[in-house]
Assembly symmetry: C2
Homo-oligomer: 112 residues x 2
C-alpha cells in the first residue's frame, strides 16, 4: 500500500469528473488533461490514461465527438461533448460514489 494506492482510488472516478467537465464545456482531449491537472492536483492524469477513457465513453454512447479545424490548414482537434445518456450515467454514478464516500467517512471519522 504505497503511492500506487492513489492509482486505485482513481478507478472509476475519472469517468465521472471527465463527464462533468465535458458537460460544462466542450473540450478536446489534450485540453482536458491540462484542465484536470489544473482543477485537482490529486486527479492528475497523463494522456495515455485519458484517451482510452474517452474512447470507452464514446463506445458507451456517453460522449460524442467532432473534429474541428481551427484555422484552415491547421491540424483539426477532436472535440468531446456529453450526451444525454452521459449526463444520466454521470448523475447515477456520482450518486453511487457519494454513498460510498459517506460510508467511508462514517467508518473513518466516527461512530465506532
Amino acid at each position: 500500500m504505497n503511492e500506487n494506492i492513489i492509482k486505485q482510488f482513481k478507478k472509476g472516478v475519472l469517468d465521472i469528473v471527465i463527464l462533468k467537465l465535458l458537460s460544462q464545456q466542450e473540450m478536446y482531449g489534450y485540453e482536458l488533461v491540462s484542465e484536470l491537472n489544473r482543477r485537482g492536483e490529486s486527479l492528475n492524469i497523463k494522456e495515455g490514461t485519458l484517451y482510452p477513457i474517452l474512447y470507452r465513453l464514446e463506445d458507451e454512447g456517453l460522449v460524442e465527438t467532432r473534429w474541428e479545424q481551427a484555422a484552415s490548414r491547421s491540424k483539426p482537434k477532436k472535440y468531446y461533448k456529453v450526451t444525454e445518456k452521459g449526463i444520466e450515467a454521470m448523475t447515477e454514478a456520482y450518486s453511487q460514489w457519494k454513498a460510498i464516500a459517506r460510508d467511508i467517512t462514517n467508518i473513518m471519522e466516527g461512530t465506532p
Copy 2:
C-alpha cells in the same frame, strides 16, 4: 458504466476501512464481512473479496494474525489486528483519499 462502476469505486478504499475497523477491534475474517456489511451497505463485500485483502495486508505487515480456539474442541478462528505500520499506512492512505474526494467534490458540486 453500469453497476459495476461500484466495483471500481471500491478499489483501494476497502483496505483503509478494513484497517480502521481492525484498529478499533480485533476481529476474525467472517466477522469482518458481516461488520462491513452492517456498517455501510455500499461497502458490502463477499468472503472471496475480503480474505485475499487480508492475506495481502498481512504480507505487507499491516496486520497480524492469531489463531484462537474459543472452546476446547471448537474450530479455531483466525483473528486479525492492525500493526503500528498498519496504522501509519492507513492514516497516510486515508489522507490521500480525502484529497481526491475533495477534488472530486469540488469538480462535481461547484466552482465551474
